[in-house]
C-alpha cells in the first residue's frame, strides 16, 4: 500500500480525533506509519455491529417491560455479557444466572444475591430492579 492509497474517508469520528495507524510505503520506498482518517468499509462494518448490539439491548428492554424477562437480562445485554461470564463475574453458577433471567424468579431474590449482580454489572442495587422507560440515551 502506498501512502496515497491509505483511506482518508470522511466518516464520523468516534475516538476524539485519534487516528488509526496504517503501514504504507512512502516515496523513498520505506514503510512509515500513516494515520488514517477512516475508511467507509470499516465504518460500515462497525456501524453494523454497533447497531446490532443496540437493537439487542432495545429488544431486551421491551421484553422486560412486557414482563417476559427480568431486568437482569437487560443489564447483561447492556454490558455485552452472556450468562456464563456474568456468573463468573458475580460468583454465581451459570444455571442460576439463567434462572434469574426469568422475572418471577428474579423478583424473589434476596439482597445479597442482588448485591453480587449489582457489583458485577457496576450499577446500584436499586437500578438493577428497574429498566429505563425510554430507550437508553447515548
Amino acid at each position: 500500500m502506498k501512502i496515497n492509497e491509505v483511506p482518508q474517508d470522511d466518516v464520523p469520528d468516534y475516538s476524539q480525533g485519534i487516528k488509526k495507524g496504517n503501514y504504507a510505503l512512502d516515496d523513498q520506498g520505506k514503510y512509515v506509519m500513516v494515520p488514517s482518517k477512516g475508511w467507509v468499509i470499516d465504518e460500515q462494518i462497525n456501524k453494523m455491529a454497533y447497531d446490532e448490539y443496540q437493537d439487542k439491548v432495545e429488544e431486551t428492554r421491551k421484553a422486560v417491560l412486557a414482563g417476559q424477562k427480568s431486568p437482569l437480562a437487560y443489564y447483561m445485554e447492556l454490558r455485552q455479557m452472556i450468562p456464563k461470564f456474568l456468573g463468573k463475574t458475580a460468583g454465581i453458577a451459570t444455571f442460576r444466572v439463567k434462572r434469574h433471567l426469568r422475572p418471577e424468579i428474579f423478583s424473589k431474590l434476596n439482597d445479597s444475591v442482588l448485591d453480587k449482580y449489582a457489583k458485577a454489572l457496576a450499577i446500584t442495587r436499586e437500578d438493577l430492579k428497574i429498566v429505563p422507560q425510554n430507550s437508553y440515551e447515548r
Binding site: Y23, L25, Y31
Partner: protein, 343 residues
C-alpha cells in the same frame, strides 16, 4: 509523539502504534534504550498467523485470528532479543493491583492485558467485551493511574476501572496478565532474532497439522464462506462475513490483517541483511495485503447488497483462496531464503 514522565522521572515517549501488543512491547524496549520499531517486534515475535476458531465466540461470532495468541508476541520477542522479563497472572485482584503498584514504584513501566469494555476512556462506540487489549501503565497518580494506550493516546484511568478491566472474566480471560522487562540487552542480536522469528512464522503458517490454522485455515474458512449463505441464510451469513472483515481491518491490524505490518518488517529485515530476496518478499507481502483489502471491499459490497453480479460469496471465497495460495508460496519462499541467511 508526546512525552510523559514515568515514576522515576525518566521521560517516556508516546508513539502511535497500529496494534496494541506490538506497540506496548516496542514501547517497553524503547523506554529501556533499545530503539526498535513496531513491525520489527511483530516479525521477531512471530506475530503473523491465521487461525479460525469457530468454537470460541465473541459477541456470538466466531473468532478469526490474524495474529498469534495474545501474550506470545511479547514473550517470544523478549526471549529472542535477550531481555530478562516477567510475565504474571493473578487469581486475586487485590494481590494483582498491589504488585502492580510495587513494580511501578521501582520505576518500571508495565504492560497489562485488559478488557476493552471496562476501560473507562474507551468511547461507547469502540467498546467490545474483548479481553485482549494491551496498555502500558506509566505511574500511579492521585486519582488513579497514568496510562499509555499505544493505539490511542496518553490517558488517565481510575484505579477501580483499571482493576475491573484487568480482572473481569470474559472470553480470553486476562486474569490480570501483567508483563514487564527487568533488563534488556542494549545491543541485541537483531539478525539472529529476525531469523528465529521468520522460521517460527513459516512453521506456524505451513506446518501445523490442524486444518484451522495457517494457510490451511484460510482455505478452510474460504470454503465455509462460500457455503455460508446456503447453510445459514443470507442475513446470518452477512453477519458472519462482517465479523470476519472486522477481524481483518478493525482490530488494530495496521491494515489487511497485519499483512502490511509484516511487509514493513520484511522491508526492514531486507535492509538489515542487505538481501534483495527479502526485499522482493516484502513486495509480495504487500501485494497479499492488497489482496486481503480487495476481499474486505467485496465483502462490504455483499453486505450492502450492491453490485449483485460481481460481489457474491463465491467471489469472496475465491479472493480468500488466492490469498491462501499466495501466502503458501510466500512462506515456502521465505523458508528457502531464511536458510541462506547468516546471523
Amino acid at each position: 509523539m508526546t512525552t510523559e514522565l514515568a515514576t522515576n522521572g525518566k521521560p517516556f515517549v508516546h508513539q502511535q502504534a497500529a496494534h496494541c501488543e506490538t506497540g506496548v512491547t516496542s514501547a517497553l524496549f524503547r523506554h529501556q534504550g533499545v530503539d526498535i520499531s513496531e513491525p520489527m517486534i511483530f516479525g521477531i515475535g512471530s506475530g503473523i498467523f491465521f487461525g479460525y476458531l469457530p468454537f470460541l465466540k465473541l459477541s456470538h461470532l466466531p473468532i478469526t485470528a490474524f495474529r498469534s495468541k495474545p501474550g506470545s508476541v511479547f514473550r517470544k520477542a523478549a526471549k529472542r532479543l535477550g531481555a530478562s522479563f516477567v510475565i504474571k497472572t493473578y487469581r486475586d485482584p487485590q494481590k494483582g493491583m498491589d504488585e502492580l503498584r510495587q513494580v511501578l514504584k521501582t520505576g518500571k513501566i508495565v504492560g497489562l492485558a485488559t478488557n476493552l469494555y471496562w476501560l473507562p476512556y474507551v468511547s461507547e462506540r469502540h467498546r467490545h467485551n474483548f479481553s485482549g487489549h494491551n496498555i502500558i501503565v506509566l505511574r500511579e497518580t492521585d486519582c488513579g493511574f497514568r496510562i499509555c494506550d499505544p493505539t490511542f493516546a496518553l490517558v488517565d484511568c481510575t484505579a477501580d476501572g483499571l482493576e475491573r478491566a484487568r480482572f473481569v472474566p470474559g472470553p480470553l480471560n486476562p486474569r490480570g496478565h501483567m508483563y514487564y522487562t527487568k533488563s534488556v540487552n542494549p545491543h541485541p542480536d537483531l539478525r539472529g532474532a529476525c531469523i528465529k522469528g521468520m522460521k517460527d512464522s513459516c512453521n506456524a503458517m505451513l506446518k501445523i497439522p490442524i486444518p484451522i490454522f495457517g494457510v490451511r485455515g484460510i482455505r478452510f474458512l474460504a470454503k465455509r464462506v462460500v457455503k455460508s449463505p446456503d447453510k445459514l441464510g443470507f442475513q446470518e451469513a452477512c453477519r458472519n462475513l462482517a465479523g470476519l472483515v472486522r477481524w481483518v481491518e478493525e482490530t488494530g491490524t495496521g491494515g489487511a490483517g497485519f499483512r502490511y505490518m509484516y511487509a514493513a518488517f520484511m522491508h526492514e529485515a531486507a535492509g538489515l541483511f542487505g538481501s534483495a530476496e527479502l526485499a522482493d518478499l516484502a513486495e509480495e507481502m504487500d501485494a497479499i495485503g492488497n489482496n486481503w483489502r480487495d476481499f474486505s471491499v467485496v465483502s462490504a459490497r455483499i453486505i450492502k447488497k450492491r453490485g449483485k453480479e460481481e460481489a457474491t460469496f463465491v467471489k469472496a471465497g475465491e479472493l480468500m483462496l488466492t490469498c491462501a495460495n499466495r501466502e503458501e508460496a510466500f512462506f515456502n519462499n521465505l523458508q528457502k531464503v531464511v536458510r541462506k541467511l547468516k546471523a
